[in-house]
Amino acid sequence: MTRILGNRVRVWLLAGLFAAAFAFSAPLATTAEAQNKDPIKIGFSMALTGALAGGGQQALLGIELWAEDVNKKGGLLGRPVELVYYDDQTNPKNVPGIYSKLLDVDKVDLIVSGYGTNLAAPAMPIAIEREMTFMGLFAMDINTQWKYEKYFSILPAGPDPAVGFSQFWFDAVKKFNPKTIAVIAADAEFAQNLKKGAVKNAKAAGYEIVYEENYNPKTPDFTPIIRAANAKNPDLIYIASYPNGSTGLVRALAEVGTEAKAVGGGMVGIQFAGIMAGLGPMLNGILNYDFFVPEPTMDLYPGASDLIARYQAKVKSENLKVDALGYYLVPFSYANVDVLGQAVNAVGSLDQDAIAEYIHKTAFKTVVGDVKFGSNGEWEQSRTLVVQYQGITNNDLDQFAKAGTRKIMLPADIKTGEVVPFNDLRK
């Protein structure tokens, strides 16, 4: 082996590099402390690149709009709100470091989670260790094991989220008197949880599960899956999928067809502007979950329509490369920080125990309606919408910004349509 460096040089080099690594963030701490202590800092990680970035960027804009609103109204506790956030690149490995940076170096006063289960879960131990109140955005069931009393989830799926998520869907399809069901799910975290919940609901309703398969997220063609499911003649097809799978399955349904009465349920992605417009009429008949749609009854949620309008205007005027409509995540990411902000102002301090206690006992009025949290931090009641796509005639994006293409079947208080069999809305 060739000797590359003298022994001594080599050792010093190594020692120096290690020292440099250890000293890495020392100067950061001082600069952060030297900064103005006046604003209240809210810290979070967000998926701004990577697989979940489509949602993450939308969520970030929602949070920014909230900060604008709050600061216009005089901030929290009379102090302006400042957002401190870092890109987790949709990689859970970055999350613990980011929250440590937020709490130890940036010295943020409040924290909320990033978007999605596997990016929220890795922050839990730090939140618990520092005894911070922690808001989770669309994180599925991450508090079951920890039982942390200062965790609150913004996911309108009830106390048992996996089951609550599809509860209304199974209520909606009862009118078809189904006997059999096929379940198709993506081989990934969120979809698998939805599937578990759906299987529980199906068994509780006494349906026979005739087909239950997972697909790999990079499957290019889904016609064999729909065919295999059709071969078992299911009355219902419950699908828990991610954007690429949702698109592929909707196309495969158009190509192969099905005799099932209801199709859909947990398809992520067909709520996004680009995918909705791209699929167009192929979506007709699909019965799926949603969080927010431009139906007239949604005006019951105070400020939501206005928020969406502002988001859409902002995206258009600043030519941002995010979802053009913003229904899916914006109201919820807004509500996520809004609940925390309301609590801080009501308590009158940044005392984390007091904030958590207040959130536990209060029914909040938010842009996503009335929110009340149960003892495990999940919502007391499921509010996941069931919508049926209908009347879509072309690939025009504007039609999805108006009422009528996604009518609400449940919950009953904001219902705008009646469920009909899948094939009745095709062609």
């Binding site: 690149t49 990577g50 697989a51 970035a53 489509g54 960027q57 081989d187 398969e213 997972n214 697909y215 790999n216 990079k218 499957t219 290019p220 063609d221 889904f222 016609t223 064999p224 899956i225 065919r227 295999a228 071969a231 954007p243 690429n244 698109t247 592929g248 196309r251 495969a252 158009a254 190509e255 192969v256 992605g269 996004f272 502007a273 680009g274 995918i275 791209g278 699929l279 167009g280 192929m282 490369k321 995010v322 979802d323 690939n395």
Partner: protein, 302 residues
């Protein structure tokens, strides 16, 4: 029984069509990697670049994606020409062909293209519109047996097959094509014949990259695209090229169809989530037993 035959027939047909699609993604790599021994790991990401070109032309101007792919092809040819020149100046010129460094170079290129796409287009999934997407031909064969052929896959299959056969004819029938194949085997003989091997390699590499124009268009016809999708296909395209035997164009097409049919059959009868493992399992087995690939002629590696 009728159901079984129906499923089997459909799985076979869709598998063959899917194989054609895979071939379109791999054929460029079969040239750059298989013939020229340049480990262009950025090929799938260049395909995504092609897909975005098709998307732009389709959504802004309303051009059919296939036509858009054809329009883009000369530009990709030029792009490949530039990449090879850079690659040659940096590595091959000095005489030491260290494939590891080449690999790292293309890894870097992959990230640069991907980030460029994210900055320009964001991370949302993109789709194209064409009359043949979402429609299918239904062929009734017997009672309870009918084969549905999705036009979207049929288009991909036909275009891919034509492209593959054309490239094969070009490489076997023309003088220049034979020179390309000679580059892989005997550079000295080429020099003696008065042909500049570098020029041959440059043109062949550019040709390989040019297939990304049409391959990318097919990709966005078959599935939704966002910038990082390319990474998911690195394994598939390399597996197909290696399985087909390095340098064999028709071997690549056959290998692609074998993988397509295997995935489709597994998805139909054993559960779709096993599909990727099965195709890579085939690859691993073939490599362990017959390292030169299914249709390769030369023995064991380099």
């Amino acid at each position: 029984m009728a159901t079984f035959i129906d499923l089997l027939l459909n799985a076979l047909v869709v598998g063959i069509l899917l194989g054609g699609f895979y071939a379109a993604l791999s054929i460029g790599l079969a040239i750059t990697f298989g013939l020229l021994d340049v480990v262009n790991i950025a090929h799938p990401t260049i395909l995504i670049l092609g897909a975005f070109v098709a998307f732009i032309l389709n959504s802004q101007v309303g051009i059919d994606p296939i036509l858009a792919g054809l329009i883009a092809t000369p530009f990709f040819y030029g792009f490949g020409w530039i990449i090879y020149q850079l690659y040659y100046n940096s590595f091959e010129k000095s005489g030491e062909t260290d494939s590891l460094r080449g690999l790292a170079f293309f890894f870097g290129l992959l990230f640069i293209i991907e980030v460029g796409l994210i900055i320009q287009f964001g991370v949302d999934h993109r789709l194209v519109e064409a009359p043949y997407i979402g429609e299918s031909a239904n062929i009734v064969i017997g009672e309870d047996i009918d084969v549905a052929i999705p036009y979207r896959l049929l288009v991909a299959f036909v275009v891919a097959t034509i492209a593959t056969l054309a490239i094969r004819a070009y490489l076997t029938r023309t003088f220049f094509g034979r020179a390309v194949r000679a580059v892989a085997q005997d550079m000295m003989a080429l020099r003696l014949m008065g042909v500049d091997p570098i020029k041959v390699k440059r043109i062949a590499f550019a040709l390989g990259v040019a297939t990304a124009g049409i391959g990318g268009a097919l990709m966005i016809i078959v599935l939704p695209i966002e910038p990082s999708v390319g990474r998911l296909y690195i394994g598939n395209v390399f597996a197909i090229v290696v399985l087909g035997g390095l340098g064999s164009i028709s071997g690549t097409l056959l290998a692609a169809i074998i993988i397509g049919v295997a995935e489709s059959i597994v998805a139909t009868f054993f559960g779709p989530s096993w599909a990727p493992a099965v195709s890579f399992g085939i690859l691993l087995l073939v490599l362990a037993v017959r390292p030169e690939g299914l249709f390769g002629k030369t023995a064991g590696g380099h």
